[in-house]
């Protein structure tokens, strides 16, 4: 058996050590790899500029916040003019907007979608629910802190955040990307075991229907 599939003890970013058994704990065949930025800074800067100007949102309305996506993409706010558009498939998207609370069932699909997205990829948490559980803080079926399960680049306060707040969030995100600080995908790859352990703690049923997405 390959080394990375052996049962072992790893240390998370919070310093806590825990045991993982990849064959049981992951449902992907290979853990994601870290990808370094381009060798030349000027090239990476150009790339980051392009990435910041071309935010493709995955069309996955995970919660209430999805309701504000339509105003965002329509005449009133017209996010297209800021280089934002939505894509129907995770392969082509580089921005995942977690629009509010995530039920455990959705979290599983979100993780799958997130892992299908390509590096670099960004996650924006929308509203109270992604920060600390929001109004569903005592619900048995929603996660409370998104950053336990996915690397989050940005949070936007509100319930729901208005389209204007989202646009402000995009501006901030662009700034972060241009500074080269939006390395969530690499963070995820680096702390994969930790994220997986957290995910596994709440998702008791790892079986995924044979989705075609």
């Amino acid at each position: 058996m390959r080394d990375e599939l052996q049962k072992r003890v790893v240390k998370g970013p919070d310093g806590v050590e825990f045991e993982v058994e990849p064959l049981k704990d992951y449902y992907c065949e290979a853990p994601p790899a870290e990808h370094p930025p381009a060798y030349l800074k000027i090239v990476e800067d150009l790339f980051n500029w392009a990435r910041s100007q071309s935010l493709w949102i995955l069309g996955f309305g995970t919660g209430c916040g999805a309701i504000e996506m339509r105003p965002l993409m329509t005449p009133r706010f017209d996010a297209y003019r800021y280089g934002v558009q939505w894509r129907p498939t995770p392969r082509q998207s580089n921005l995942f907007i977690i629009s509010g609370y995530l039920s455990v069932k959705t979290l599983k699909r979100v993780i799958r979608s997130y892992e299908q997205m390509q590096n670099p990829k960004y996650v924006v948490g929308l509203g109270s629910c992604t920060i600390n559980g929001g109004m569903y803080w005592d619900s048995y079926n929603t996660i409370k802190r998104l950053d336990d399960y996915l690397p989050v680049d940005l949070y936007i306060a509100g319930c729901m955040p208005r389209p204007e707040a989202l646009l402000a969030g995009f501006e901030t995100l662009k700034h972060i990307i241009r500074e080269g600080k939006a390395e969530g995908a690499n963070l995820y790859a680096r702390n994969f075991d930790w994220y997986k352990a957290n995910q596994k703690k709440v998702i008791h049923d790892w079986d995924m229907p044979d989705y075609n997405w």
Partner: protein, 392 residues
Amino acid sequence: MALYTPDRSQYPAALPDGSLEFDLASGKYLKLWQGPQHPGITGNMSLELTVCGDEIVHARTHVGYLHRGFEKLMERRTFIQCFPIVCRICVPEPDFNEYCYAQAVEELAGIEAPERARWIRTLILEMGRINSYMMYLGGQAGSLGQAVIGQWTTYGRDLMLDRFEELTGARIYHMFILPGGVRDGLPDGFETRMEETLREIERIMADVEDVMFHNAVFKTRTVGQGIIRPEWIEDYGVTGPNARAAGVVKDVRKDQPYLVYPELDFEPVSGTDSDVFTRADVRRRDVHVSIDLVRQILARMPKDGPLMAKVPNVLHWKIPKGETYVRGECSRGEYGYYLVTDGSGYPRRVNVRGPSYTHAMALLEKMIVGVNIADVAGLMVSLHTYPPEIER
């Protein structure tokens, strides 16, 4: 005129217990998942389709992606604490939750909202209905690839959201109708700005009619598609525009009038053909009814008067043992709250009856069989379902 009529006598084979057998290994059938991550699905749910060629032979609706356990959460919140969370049960038209919940609590607590509050509640419900329909129309056109309609109607909805914002203080979750009454009266000059908004929405609706409804391609795709058969109306508890488009002219606003509807002048809209086009058309015409109702309400509502009934200190509000069911006609059909109290400060049980519960589950699974893959999205949207009210 169908180019090709599949022969359904041979397959899929029926098992002895009546269920269908799909031998996926045969290559004859394909499992196709739509959603939850899928733009054609209204909201976060998923369809498990078994297709044969381009045709769906079996479908299963999967929900639960938005389940937050409202009914459980409300059992450990006081009556006033339930008020902010109920609106989250249905995102695009949250006000019906607020109304039904407030009305149910008032009924069991033996208080009555003041006259002016009841007018304002009606106003909000009709504004929300317009919004919901606008969103639906955009979605219906969008599901068939006509993006421009969604652009216009969302703009109209945005204008209405501005009115909501100035009236209620929020865009989406208004949290304005609370047990006992409403929070506040109309802001100054609201009527004028509302009239401007209504005119703009009427212009948009005229364009929608020209571009969407008088459209050969749209008609090709929708006329005769997705018919709800008469016997399904009762079998699957179909209500609202879905039923009215099938000729069942039942509208809670007329049949069991609530709030100030008895004083308003309107006729329920209905159709006969029960296909996707008729359902869309019923809703389009209903927008005009709602616009007219909003005008009537603004013209006739009392300008002064209390907005809240005398409620006890909400922190210790206890309601005697009892149970009731309060319904309203929301844009998708019958919306209802079944509230059981046990004399404590917390609801014993709240059950939310969203119209999508039956429309998107049993009815959709039934209707979708035999439909082309390309029509699934359009059919689903035409039932006008919002998943959060299914699983709550």
